[in-house]
Amino acid sequence: MSLLNYIVRRLLFMVLVLFGVSILVFGVLMLIPPGMRVAAYVTNEKVPPSAIDAMIVQYGLRDPAPIQYFRWLGKIARGDLGYSTTAEGPVLKGFIQFFPTTLELVLYATPLIIFVGVWLGTVSAVHKDEPVDHFIRVVSIVGYSLPTFWLGLLLLMFFYGFLGIFPPGVLSESLRDVIYAPGWIRVTGILTIDSIINWRWDIFLDALYHLFLPTLNLVILDSALIMRLMRSSMLDALGQDYIRTALAKGASNHTIEHIHARRNAMLPVITISGVLFAGMLAGMVITETIFVRKGIGWWMARAALQLDVSAIMFNVLFLGAVFVGVNLIVDLIYATIDPRVRLS
């Protein structure tokens, strides 16, 4: 089967899955009484209670659920994602506002998580049953058991509270005015990139400074999973015949460990990176809430607390699409790297 055929089939399947997800989430959100769901249409705070009932009728919130679902689907198809009370504007505007902050953290954390996980896993496997191996394994299982929110709060308490460095937020107060001033060119919305475009290195450094703790939080929590997998797959690889051959031919330890074994051992790590990504998206909700970074995760947490139905629906579907998309990419990478894997 050709690659294109495979990709198209997977994309169609992704649409089907998201369709299923939308039915599931919409169906469950229908359990919320119409009087609360009507909040999504209240754009003016001074609406008299009598008007609320009229709005419920106007927007058909008491209609049978399937009718409401298809009405909602029709609106989505026309590009109307609804009004989000937590974003104080249309959902799409909220998304454009919040997404870059999340993407920035993902872009910094992912390479670090993979690097740290692969490196520790390799060290652990090469020194199997030595003290350093025991130490890394204990650290990893402890890291795996820590609640995201607790580690975040501890980091914040120690660095920000005790030492007075690495404050929460995305930017220092003195610089916050700059990015809302007319002179600021917003290209990507990602501060560390926009600041270079605007040639403001002070903002670049300040944004990095604020990124440190959230990134550290994610790296400590999520590299544990990669490390565990890397260790066992590295041990598998080191026991293979071709390693013995390489040894017999006089290859150095460094060549064997880093060239022959590690490359093969990394294959399972690639397959698990989809799962890792899901973990990161979930961790994002907590991390952004604790470090007050107004991104998608922070938005989702607020929307959940304030029953912002449009934002919840959108975020669940968006995160689902990202997750399914990432898994597709992971599968494609895997098939490219390992010719033994056939796409089916």
Binding site: V25, V28, I141, L146, P147, W150, L153, G161, A304, L319
Partner: protein, 311 residues
């Protein structure tokens, strides 16, 4: 002739199952991490069982409501009266930890047991019958797989209303696909083995084949997955509580206790770590509980999983 019979009577050969079991147990207790994990869990079992003695509830009809002295919003540090200090509104932290243990066990074990049960049934049906039934069950599972659990759980908890009960219900709804996948893949292997064909040929009913021949062969992999998932379940439930989707303030729930400390991360200027106990103790309890389950899960996998044992 009679000699031989006498001998076998005197020294009956150990049953292979028993030999296997003792071998497994020996391996299990050789690993120091297992001992640590087991000790942690036993400690929490002790707390949960003896909660009424360790922290006598002032209102026995509703022991999960933490007692508090006054409404002062400033937490008090550990003292003779409150050994581990208090939360804002003077809720005793020690009391919350002890009764919260019962909650943690209740959430973790209920969710995992329900997931095991549903996963077992659906997985057995999907794997054994195959075809369209298999397709439908597994595609519904894919829908659940497509969204990170915490995010989907947030949406569902919001919809059916906040609270610990809702969290448990939602985690039960969301958890089954993992187990279904595991049991299904096991059954796909077993289904075509000779002894199943023999059973079919001798006219044994589907139900009996599944219950008597397939289940005993595949249930261990489910137990491994289940034991490794208790910790994860507790973490997700605690995260939902922390985000404010769980119980109200004053209820003995670890996640909710951590969330009350969010406004007290930085102490007053003269002692910036003044509220350390508030941030540290409830979160540490969750971490310790989850660590115990993870260590135990790892050990159970190492010992019972045929793919990694005997190495």
């Amino acid at each position: 002739m009679s000699d031989i019979v006498e001998q076998t009577k005197e020294q009956p050969a150990a049953h292979p199952g028993w030999r296997e079991f003792t071998f497994s147990m020996k391996r299990l207790f050789k690993n120091p991490l297992t001992i640590i994990g087991l000790s942690i869990i036993m400690f929490f079992v002790f707390l949960a069982v003896f909660a009424p003695l360790l922290a006598p509830p002032p209102r026995p009809f509703d022991p999960y409501l933490m007692p508090h002295r006054g409404w002062d919003m400033t937490p008090s540090p550990p003292s003779a009266e409150n050994l581990l200090g208090t939360l804002p509104s003077q809720y005793d932290i020690l009391y919350g930890i002890i009764w919260g243990t019962r909650n943690a066990f209740r959430i973790g074990l209920t969710v995992v047991a329900a997931n095991l049960f549903v996963g077992l049934i659906l997985g057995a049906i999907a794997g054994y019958f195959g075809g369209i039934v298999d397709e439908i069950i597994m595609r519904i599972g894919d829908v659940f797989y497509a969204i990170p659990t915490l995010v989907l759980a947030m949406a569902l908890v919001v919809a059916i209303g906040r609270g610990l009960q809702s969290i448990v219900i939602v985690l039960i709804i969301l958890g089954w696909p993992t187990y279904t996948r595991v049991i299904r893949s096991e059954i796909l292997v077993i289904r075509n083995m000779d002894f199943i064909l023999a059973a079919k040929a001798s006219g044994v009913s589907h139900f009996r084949i599944i219950m008597r021949h397939i289940m005993p062969n595949s249930i261990f992999s489910l137990i491994i997955v289940g034991s490794m998932n208790v910790g994860v379940t507790i973490l997700i439930a605690a995260a939902l509580s922390f985000l404010g989707l769980g119980s109200d303030t004053g209820y003995a729930d670890w996640g909710a206790m951590v969330s009350t400390c969010r406004n007290f991360i930085v102490g007053p200027p003269e002692n910036r770590l003044a509220y350390w106990y508030l941030v540290f103790i409830p979160g540490f309890t969750i971490a310790l509980f989850v660590l115990g389950w993870n260590l135990l899960g790892d050990a159970i996998r190492d010992v019972f999983d045929p793919r990694v044992r005997r190495r």
